[in-house]
Amino acid sequence: MQVTVDVAYKSLNKFTEELCGDKVELLKTADSDIMILADGMGSGVKANILATLTSKILGNMFLNGATLEECVETIVQTLPVCQVRQVAYATFSILQVFHNGDAYLVEFDNPGCIFVRDGRLMEIPSNIRELEGKKINEYRFRVQRGDCFLLMSDGTIHAGVGMILNFGWDWKEIAEYAVKQYRLTVSASRMAAMMVKACDDLYLGRPGDDTTVACMRIIDRKVVNLLTGPPKKAEDDGQMVASFMEGEAKRIVCGGTSANIVSRVLGRKLKPTLDYVDPEIPPIAYIDGLELVTEGVLTLNRAVNLMKRYANDENINEKFFLELDKKNGGSMVAKMLIEDCTDLNLFVGKAINVAHQNPDLPFDLGIRQHLVEQLKVTAEKMGKTVTITYY
């Protein structure tokens, strides 16, 4: 089995702190994906430095094939010693999933990894080894498609302590909530956002500790083919549509003229709707066998803006996901590309639309290629594999 993963994380800073004392590193080696979460002792700058050092050292050493013993030894010798407590300390969790399905989990003093399979919570056996005086749990296993893993800092299990809960949210309850969210969410990012949102609610919006959830889901490759723009030469119509229809993929067409071309070449009817879900975005349409048909540049512009927000992690909370769930073309394209896509193939026509070269229009419609370039860069930033073919 060739394993593909979807990874994302979300942090809350302790109330009034500008820096987070938790740090997540997401890495790819030639044959594996690695997710590391470190939680530095204390909060603010000191915790941030401890967590950053720990996660970076672990990441770099793992990348270069060092053993766990070497990593832990290096961390112990490198971390600056806290003047108050006289110890150098950051807790950490590491999850490494190899493309062949082997997995390796290492945990040191963080709340235990939540592991959901087939909608049920899985137990992680205890297998403790002592390294440099630290008790470290190791677990080697095989992953399956659909598996979901959550690494957390202890801000999660302390959520609500002394405020609306006596002893905080205990691990079992968090795990139950995670199992519920596992059924309700598709992507790692939405899962992480929902878990952190629940913690923030328990903290009444004023987190008493840095709180982080990192999520990894084992998924299938999900290919999306997106066609936009008519080819420069009309005789290439057939070739462009044939390539667009090749292979197993979800298919999106963005553009009125493009949709007419696809409809004509395939001999399938194009059915536009008149539903203005959003006044700024023209209604969507349907062609049998295609996932989505929308207008072109206005819709793409909206979709690219949403994707940029996501890729740059600007306020990615449940409000963002509500926006993503809206049924306007822009949100629908963005949602599919963010949550339901690992490989994106773009089929882009370079014809210039005469009607769009009109200075009376309040919006520059001649920007398709520019938008497509931004789409590519943004999707790549999210870790997706992108190809572009121009016609």
């Binding site: 003229t257 007419n260 536009p272 008149l274 203005y276 023209p282 769009h356 229009l361 919006f363």
Partner: protein, 80 residues
């Protein structure tokens, strides 16, 4: 009678949404739901002018403010 309004990018920016809303209202007010079929279409390739509206295949070019006159002349007028 079939009335088709273009909802492509160019017509959208020239106000096809207002025209559609207005036409939907007018059809409703005149109780013509049975007789007039309102449709959308993607770009019909005539976008150099106003918003493209076709009535039983005949092409018209509209601005949102002309919608009522258009409805009276081309829709009510033709239905007789």
């Amino acid at each position: 009678m079939t009335v088709t309004i273009c909802i492509g990018s160019s017509c959208h920016l020239k106000g096809s949404r207002e025209i559609i809303q207005k036409l939907q209202e007018l059809v409703c007010q005149n109780h013509l739901e049975e007789k007039v079929d309102l449709n959308g279409s993607f770009c019909t390739g005539n976008c150099v002018k106003g918003v493209c509206v076709t009535v039983d295949g005949e092409l018209f070019s509209l601005k949102p403010e002309d919608t009522e006159t258009f409805f009276e002349e081309k829709v009510l007028g033709r239905l007789g």
